[in-house]
Structures are given as C-alpha cells and as structure tokens.
Subunit: 529 residues, 2 copies
C-alpha cells in the first residue's frame, strides 16, 4: 500500500496481501500496517487499485472495513474482481467502487490521477500519473513492456512520453525483477511450451496457475480449443474470477469449451484439460489435494500431464518441490520451470526498468515493490542511467519521502511493520506470541503439576505432561526420572515457601536436568494444584 499525502488530503494506492514467511508460525496472511492512518481517517479521499492480483487487492476487505465509504477507483475488470472479494467478506455495501477506463482521469482531492495502460499478467492493469500541487509523480504499478500481450493491449507509450514532456518530479517503479538482466519474455513466449504439452499428452492436461492470472486462462482456453479438448476449472476462487472476467468480456471463451469438473473427470482423458489452483504448494489448494489424494474429484494418475504455470514465490520453493515429487510418485508427468518455459514473470527486468526511467526522465527515483535487495539493485540501475545518487531513495516500507519546492527529503521511518492475520484475529498476534510459537515448535513443552501436602511440601512426584518434546508413550521411564529429580531437589525446600518460589525452583531444576539429558529446551509450565 502506498499513501500520497498533501495538506489534509490522503490518497491510497493498493492494499495487498503477502504470504507469511516460514517463521511467522501459524499466521494465515500478512497485510500492511497502516496504523499511521488511524488518526487520519477523515483525510483519506480515495483509494486506487491498480490491478486485480492478490498482492494488490488481498488486504482490501480490511482496508474497506477501516475506511468505510472512502471511494475506490479502478478499471472495470479490477472492479469485478474486487467485488467478488468484498462480497465474500460481506462488506461490499460499505464502499463504492468507481470504474474508469484504462486511460481515465479522476480528481481526488488535490490529486489529478491519470490512468495509463501497462502490461502485466492480467488485463486492465494500469500505472498512475498523479499530478499533485508539488509536481507530477508517476507510479508504475506492476508492469512489463510486452509487445505481444495476450489481450492485445500494449503499454501506453504515448502517455509515458507525454508525462516526460510535462516533467516528472518522481518515478516510483516496480523492482520485483531488478536483480535480473535483460528483458522478461512476452506472455506469448510460453505458448510453444504449452502447445507441446497439449500435443504430446495422451491423457488429461492439468494446468495450474494463480486464480487471478486471467491472461493465462485465456491462453489455456485458446490451446484447449486448438487441440479439441474441453476445459474444466478446479478451484472456487479461480472459477469466480473466470466467471466475472468472461461476463465482462475480458475472457473470450468459445461456446461449449467449458465443462463442469464432475463431467470432465468422466470423459475420455485425452479430451479434457483442467485449470487448477495451488502452484505455491498450499496443501489445501487443488494441486496440493491432488498430490496427496485428498481432492474429491481430481486425483493425479498415470497419463496426466500436469503443468505448473507459475514460479514459486520465494519461501514457497520447498512446498512446491514436494508437490512436484508427489505428483511424480503418482505416475503423472509434471512439466515445470526449468524443464520447459511454461511460465513467464509479469514483472519487468533490468532493460525494461531502464526503458521506463529513460522514457520518463524523472528528477527523483524511488524503487518500490520488492525486498531491500531488489530495491537496491533497482536504485543502482537508476544511478547507471545518470540520476544523481542524492535523487534516488532506496527506502524500506514506512519511510516517508517529503517533496517541498521541488526538492525531496527522507523523513524518519514510521514505526510499524507487518500486521498478522491469524484466524479471525487481525493484528492481535505480535512478536511475543510468535516467539512462544517458535519455542514450542522447536522443543515443545513440559507441564509440571505439583501438589502440596498439608506441611506445604510436595505431596508426591509431580505429574508431568509433555507435547512436542518427547513421545510420551515411549518415554515413561525418562519422564518418571524427571518427576523424581524435581521432587528430590525440592525436598529441602521449606514447607512454607510460597507457590511462586516452588515454581521457580522447579523450573530451574527441570531446565538444567532436561538440557543436560537431551540438549533440548522445551518450554516449562509449572502449576501448583
């Protein structure tokens, strides 16, 4: 999420969701921390959503809840996809979503926002030219320069040239692929590989990709038609997205191609193609369930050709590889990168990033969308193109850049980071709870229940319950020894010692004993009954 602020006016751009990192234990999703805006609710004049992918829309249900009735502006397909999301969250009536064409203009408070088309892996994706009283800011949004996009709509080079003519104060540009030289291949470039699969497949073809990768769906529809296969969709979110995109005319699906999944699985395998979700190794998505035999209709089997048309998002590699292995185990043929070019990124590489900078000739350059390593690489590119180092701001999330009289300066970073979503809780899980989960994940816990006798001493050996530490059934003797060691060590404790002292002493004894015996450090919870 990006906030543009002028006087008492704030314009927000996007509200995305992030996969939790693998040590964010138990966290379902991560959304932006916009607590900076909590006191400034009344100043938020509008929210722009640049395109309909999860990493730009996934937090919108939370955003709408926190900023009800703030109007949203986006292109028509993005509106369609947003509506599905807000309807699911039962919050669609709390806001208004205004659709603009991809070259539309809207005034939001003091900001004049001009949409312009940029290519990505979804139709109706736009960048923004934001004319502020301080000057013109260009916000690239996610982009690549694709000369042969699937939907036929090329980037709006004319608009970029026009911005350059007007003078660009600052460019904020997508850094995702800033570490990679060259040019990201066109969407079209995956079609030969996909066609190979369809041509060679003797059984079903199953193509897995992101639920919101509408361009990829169009490609699979086209190839299915070409090879005389019916197409079924597996995955509720993908189905919803396809329905809306088709209804709005963003997907061109010939009559009779689509079949229901329950019908598809009964047809001869060589007449069927399926699109599915789950390319990130999520165990509950379609591919994950296919791999472990937990899908009610679709099970991987010999003869299946299964295409992973997506790259693993960093951090998901291990889970993705595991699913690939399991699909091979079930006898399927799995086609994935690097075996074949069945996916291309939707993000510009270095040469395209340079082109955008050269086209716009901005005074200031701020790399956005990416980890610090990517932002750093992108900042270096800008240096190579002649932008002075002082005019390049490689900054982390939460760092305001202030423009005054045509000059920019970096302000102190605003405290905050990620907001964790866990179950129905948003933001209630903080570092303390995560640290406890980490400790529990590593060595489990020991629960020590002590009972005092009438003299105040221990009535007998304490009761010991453990989970995640040792397998209790196999460790009866060891746990008995633990209990005895606590009792033995505590027997000299004065019977009038408080429960607190008793607990402290017991934890101390147990910690030392357990570590010396096992080299593990389980969490120890003492209870005096």
């Amino acid at each position: 999420m990006m906030a543009y602020e002028y006087g008492r006016n704030i314009l927000l751009v996007d509200g995305g969701i992030m996969f939790p990192e693998s040590d964010m234990h138990g966290i379902d999703a991560v959304i932006p921390d916009y607590s900076y805006l909590k006191d400034k609710r009344d100043l938020v004049r509008g929210i722009i959503v640049t395109h309909g992918h999860e990493d730009h829309t996934g937090a919108m249900p939370y955003v709408v809840k926190d900023f009800p009735n703030v109007p949203i502006y986006c292109t028509p397909l993005t509106r369609g996809l947003l509506e599905i999301k807000l309807k699911e969250a039962k919050i669609l009536d709390k806001t208004t979503i205004n659709a603009l064409p991809t070259d539309g203009t809207v005034n939001i408070g003091p900001f004049k926002v001009e949409f312009f088309r940029m290519c990505h892996s979804i139709p109706d994706n736009v960048g923004l030219g934001i004319t502020t009283p301080a000057g013109l800011i260009v916000h690239s949004g996610d982009f690549k320069f694709d000369h042969t996009p699937v939907d036929g709509h090329k980037p709006d080079f004319a608009k970029l040239a026009e911005f350059a003519g007007r003078g660009v104060l600052a460019l904020l540009s997508d850094s995702t692929n800033a570490e990679y030289p060259g040019i990201t291949p066109s969407e079209r470039d995956i079609e030969p590989a996909l066609e190979n699969v369809f041509r060679d497949a003797e059984g079903r073809v199953i193509v897995a990709t992101f639920a919101s990768l509408i361009s990829r769906v169009q490609q699979v529809v086209n190839i299915s038609e070409m090879y005389g296969r019916k197409l079924a969709i597996a995955g509720a979110s993908m189905m919803e997205n396809i329905k809306i995109a088709q209804k709005m005319g963003y997907l061109d699906i010939p009559d009779g191609i689509l079949v229901k999944l329950e019908d598809a699985v009964k047809m001869p395998p060589h007449e069927v193609a399926v699109m599915a979700t789950g390319t990130q190794g999520e165990p509950s998505a379609v591919l994950g369930r296919m791999a472990t035999g937990r899908h009610s209709l679709l099970n991987a089997m010999p003869g299946d050709s299964i295409v992973l048309s997506a790259h693993p998002i960093p951090g998901n590699e291990e889970y993705v590889h595991r699913i690939i292995n399991r699909l091979f185990q079930k006898g399927a043929n799995v086609i994935y990168s690097p075996l074949a070019q069945v996916h291309v990124s939707g993000h510009a590489r270095q040469e395209e990033q340079k082109l955008l900078i050269s086209l716009l000739r901005p005074k200031y350059f701020i790399p956005v969308h990416g980890e610090l390593r990517m932002l750093t690489a992108h900042g270096r590119l800008a240096r190579q193109l002649g932008i002075p180092a002082d005019n390049i701001f490689v900054v982390e999330n939460g760092t305001p850049i202030e423009f005054t009289d045509g000059r920019a300066r970096k302000l102190d970073r605003i405290p905050g980071g990620y907001v964790f979503v866990d179950g129905s809780g948003v933001g209630d899980i903080g570092p303390m709870v995560i640290r406890d989960r980490e400790m529990l994940a590593r060595d489990g816990f020991i629960l020590l229940v002590m009972r005092r006798n009438s003299q105040g001493g221990l009535a007998n050996d304490p009761e010991i319950i453990t989970r995640g530490f040792v397998y209790m059934k196999d460790s009866e003797d060891f746990l008995k020894t633990l209990a005895q060691s606590v009792r033995e060590e505590l027997k000299n404790l004065n019977g009038t010692a408080s429960d607190t002292v008793l607990k402290e002493k017991a934890v101390d004894v147990l910690n030392k004993f357990v570590y010396s015996e096992t080299r593990r450090r389980p969490m120890i919870i003492p209870v005096v009954a």
Copy 2:
C-alpha cells in the same frame, strides 16, 4: 548412503547429512535411516566415503557409532576431514580410516573397488568402479566434468573408457542438476566475477561459502594475493578444514597471507579479505551473526563488499534473502547470484550427465543423489540416449535393486525414511511429536486447570494459562470469558462424574468456543487438580 550387498557381505558408500525441511520443527539435522542394517551389523565389511562434503560425511559420527571397527576407505583429504569430524564426536578411536590414492584399488569382501577421479568442488573427490560377482557397477559420486578445475586434476576419462571396455552392468549417477540443460560452468569461471569484487572494493572483502568448499578457499587465497590483501578465516569449522587441507598439501597458501581475524579487523579495510561461513542463512553461522550484529569481531559496515559464494540449498532461500537484506541495511555491498557469477555448482548438468552415460554405455541406469523430480529428469535423459525404459530404475530411497544373472529387478521398498537428530536424541523424534510441534507452532496451547469442590463440582472458574495462542496480558477479559464458559457449561455435570469425563467435556466446550471466537485451534490440555 548406499549399500551394496552380495551374499553375506555389505559395502556401504557415504553417510551424509541433510538440512531439515522447514516443517521438520525443531529438528537439528536429518541422517539416513539405515535400520535395515541393524540386524546385519556383522555383514558390513567396509565403508567408502567418496569425498569430504557434509552431505556425504555428516552422518559418519552416527555410522561409526553404530558400526564400530568397520574399516573406512577414502582418499587422503577426505580422511583428514573425516578425522576432524570424528575427533569432535570423540569417536575417532572406534574405527580405522584407510587412505587410498584417487586411482587406488581395494578389495572389500567380494567387492573390488577402484577409485577414479571425478571433479567436484573439493579436491580428492572420487567415483567408484565396483566389480561384484554380479558384474561391474559404476558409482559416479558427486561429479562435474570440469576441464579447468582449481586443483588442476581433471576427471579420469581413461578409467571411464576402460570400464566401458570391460562392460558396465549398471551406472548410478548424480542427478542433482538433471533438470538443467547444458553444462555447469567450470570452477574457474567464477574468477572474473571475484576479481571484479576485489578490484572495485574500497573496504573489506568478505567471501562467504561452505566450510568444506576447499577449492573456493584456494581461489580466494589466489585472488587475495593478487590484490595484496591479507586473508582471515571466520568460522571454526572452516578454519579446521583449511588447516588440515593446507597441512596435507591440498591448499597452496603463500606465507604471510593468512592473518588472525582479531588482527584483520584492526587493519586498514582495503588490505583485508575474510572468508566466512553462513551462506545458507543459518542464524548462528558467521554471516548470520554479522547481519544481526551478534558477531564479536566481525560486523557488516558501509564499505564492506560481501560475496555469497554459494547457492541457497532449496528450502533455505527465504533465510538467505533475509540475510542479504540485512547486510544491505547495514550499508554493505552484497554480491550474490544472479547479480554476478560468484558461485558455480559442483554438479553436472544434462550434457555432462549424458556424456557420462555415453562414455560408460551401462546396461542398467539408476539415477541417484536427488529428489524424485531430479531422478525422473535424469531417467528421461537416459531414455533419450537409448537405454530401454525397463533398464532404468527411477526409485526412491530405500528401494533395493537386485541383480541376478545379469538382470535387474526392483524389490519392495524397505520401510523407513529419515532419522531426525534433535539435540542429543537420534531417532527418538517421530511423526507424532512433529505433528504436536506443528500444532503448537500454528496456534499454541491452552492449559485448563480445574479444581473440584467437595461435592465433585468445579470449585470455581478454571485457571487458564496459554502460550502461543493469544498474548495473555492483552487478553485477560477474553481468557476470563473462556473460563466462565467452561464453568457454565459444566455446572450441570453430575458431581460424581469422573475426572476423565470432566476433562473430555471441558475440552469439547473450549474447542468449540475458541474456534467460534477466533477461528484458531490451539492444543487444549485439561488438568484436574
């Protein structure tokens, strides 16, 4: 680990260690499950170790403990590195390690084993020609065909040709890079990129790599000398390995180049280079501690050029990226793949794998070293080269292949999988404990302490203690509500109900209430005091 068995004779090859996968919670290391051999201890005639990397030697302390006095055979450098490892584990006296030259031959029971040189990223690496009564098996070991290896020793093509002349019954070949087309670049090919770093660096140059990547150490020594820098070593394991390799003549380090780390940090930064461990994101290795400011001598600072001369092992990407980000945060310049070619793999790619098959013309082909997806890709290569599908065995760990009268067949997979090492425990942590850790990591636990009054009912609201579920200090009201809901629901329970019934009922109430309120499923532990 591989076992070759003939009659009542078993020959073992290698005993490696694996990084735990990210959902193997709390596991320190993973070693092979060789429980199949437990009843056959007396039949094990020898253990061959092909080279000194962790993934081939890391489990040797456990293997030596389980097979004391079984002689080990390897090349001299491998022996040196093994001795360090076994000495650390205080088990060196339990075995004998016999050093053979890289073209040595040894008879072990009915097996005649001929070593032959193969290139890898460590000197003294060998493959094995194993002449058995059933025929000649070639075991590639880790390999690449490097025509310009750092130590100058090329692969032993003559021996490979000789094997082919004798007739190879089966080839077992390294599959690590079977998904990648082309040829792995030579070790030498990273030198231009490393030299660039040394030439451009204004401050210190810090090169991180694996502790056992002896060839890389030689390269950094050479370039340090070329650019007039002293070299310090950070990381105890790397230091030990370098000492032994230097002593044995496998590292050529000019006098006066090496300095102690504590001296290096006091020298002018542009006169210093450092080699360090920690390229896999391990928080306790040197690079991890540098990134978080927890190293006593070495802290990342502006001016430092830090080279990650290793690729992340799959599953470690996220941690490696995090360290790169943190080093950038500290103002260092970080050089890593794909920004520059500062690492090459030690494993053959497809064209080299094909070359080995073509050179040896084996009757049977068994891809080894790799996940099922890599084995599958390697098996396909063999098909392309004309080996009949029936003569290719793509099998998972634990699957025996039996050769009788020159014909091979696959036997049933032997039960077993990985053995987990956790603290001082080896193999005591099984799936049940891991499942509990997973559950605890996800949602923590609730401990419910109930006390009964003299009528057998609940004396008062149960005591509730939680960790990893909600932050207790912020959740007093919620926890109070939980306690009340349990008491309320249990109040109609007959006072004579057993503790077991009381607990079951309480867990049931709490599960439902907690899920409906939070959508989380913490582990619930009931205790009746």
